[in-house]
Symmetry: D3
Subunit: 126 residues, 6 copies
């Protein structure tokens, strides 16, 4: 059953984060493999696999949570790619980040938008 | 034109936050009326009035940003009401808050869910 | 196996948080029972049940993480009780909170210490 | 010499925070008296006693730091009183809080302004 | 009138942030031009253009808000330059950052001071 | 006596942080020497020199406080070295960081673990 949560989580991680997610898990292999396992089993196997919100909605929530916290640029990079992977357009992503301004102020949003700029350039969608 | 931004923002504030938003603006009247004006003009007249995301999507982003920041329970109260106002179901709202767990940890989500519990009880939707 | 993680987590939750933890899980029953389940299965079944640090060490880490984040007074209440439950003395707990001053500044520590004062009074250890 | 830092700090604490500061120190007496001592010696004896900025400037910095962090309403209460004590007008205080909007967003500023409203009412300056 | 807010904001942005501010607006041009527009119109046209505090006082508040939030080093870079532009001395700036220690702890202040070190070196004032 | 606090603090800083701590103090020499002095006198002379918790316990608290705050990677680098210096094993350190997941979410812990990976590689303990 742990295997099932892991397998379920891995499929979801691949669907959402793709290569960027796999790279994070791989880079944890020699220092904290169980941390990678919990990302797969809990974040993706338990949470992302729930019904109730579709993947576009989940990425809107994720982008806002990461933007608001600050200091999560590496995770924003992964999840900006994920947002594109699940079908949000660059314009929708930028709109979601800009919607955070009244709640987080400009600095958090500027940091997120400049991270998005790099991701969009790498993906050739800017 | 300032009038127009204010009028546009006020209509949007009423549509989204309703009474809860009006109470915030009113309570600022004797200490910082311009703060209330900026909430109306900038947050609602400029940001909420943009196309690109619908009001349900904007409330998902708002709930996540407020949950992730912490210490925003009064604003969560207003925007949990707003989320219901624009048509998100209680189940979708709880799902959005739970989606934040991997990004914010349990304490921020517990605080948000207990705020939601009060709002849902007041609205008779729990 | 999910049952086993839940059972393992529940025993650990009872051992660490006791009644305070049970109250949190119970109060989630009508709004977000799965959130309570994840606290049991993931936080206590997966993380707290790991070897490598004993429960006193885990509570030192927990208190510091909650103090540093801010806005987690309800969770600090539960985990200050937990710290006493696993055998940390009131003096050790206060020392751990004071050790945070250089890292978090005084306000976060003052909020935590005043929460500790209430808990210690309720437990009759002040 | 510790006595000197303490004495210097106590005079500065009385000058800046007045009764509100004394109440905080007193309330720490039975749980963490050394925490109170460090507030006096370090925050007020070392930092507030430095030349280079006057007390009005220091309170502007303090109010912004507390507003931006969030969850520091009890400390904001003390330091909004302090801001009045050192000669900032209610209008200057509100202006400083409103200046934070672009950097922190509206929720942090709303929490601070509503705390200011209570303080100004208690002080009869609203 | 929107034009007027923009023009007013642009003049203020040039007066305060100078080139560093212009670079931020320019770099948003291809991904989120409206974000740049809001920085000009709202942050500088509305907020910075208000009476009630002079520009030195506003930069003290800005530096404290950015230091306290953490993760805002790019914005601190711009506003440390701005602080010099409006006439604060390097010593006053460092003093303001050090005044934050009791409220934010050492790490946030160290990050801000090391950012100041780079800015002061670039400006030839260290 | 100030001398004594400084001397006491310096010895403790050397014992705990070693070279990494000295480098921080040195790099403050030309911009904010008093900031370095307060780190030595207050953080190490006052706080770290207290009885009540041993140095391993203090580093567990430190790592959690820095991880939870976010944006403190430079300070985590110093204190991950310190954690090794006072005798915590790499496995215990990783365990302490992973224990933060339920309280801070994955992004803060991932940032801390990747900082630990660099430190452990430099120290040849990975």
């Amino acid at each position: 059953m742990t295997t099932t949560r892991y397998e379920q989580g891995w499929r979801k991680l691949m669907e959402v984060d793709g290569e960027g997610g796999q790279r994070v898990i791989d880079s944890l292999g020699d220092i904290a493999p169980d941390l990678g396992r919990y990302v797969v089993e809990f974040a993706f196997g338990d949470i992302y696999s729930r019904p109730g919100l579709d993947l576009k909605q989940r990425q809107l929530v994720t982008l806002a949570a990461l933007t608001a916290q600050g200091g999560c640029e590496p995770q924003l990079n992964v999840h900006l790619n994920a947002a594109l992977n699940v079908g949000l357009t660059p314009a929708e992503i930028v709109e979601a980040l800009m919607h955070c301004i009244p709640y987080t102020g400009f600095p958090r949003v500027l940091n997120a938008v400049f991270t998005a700029k790099k991701v969009f350039q790498e993906r050739g969608v800017l």
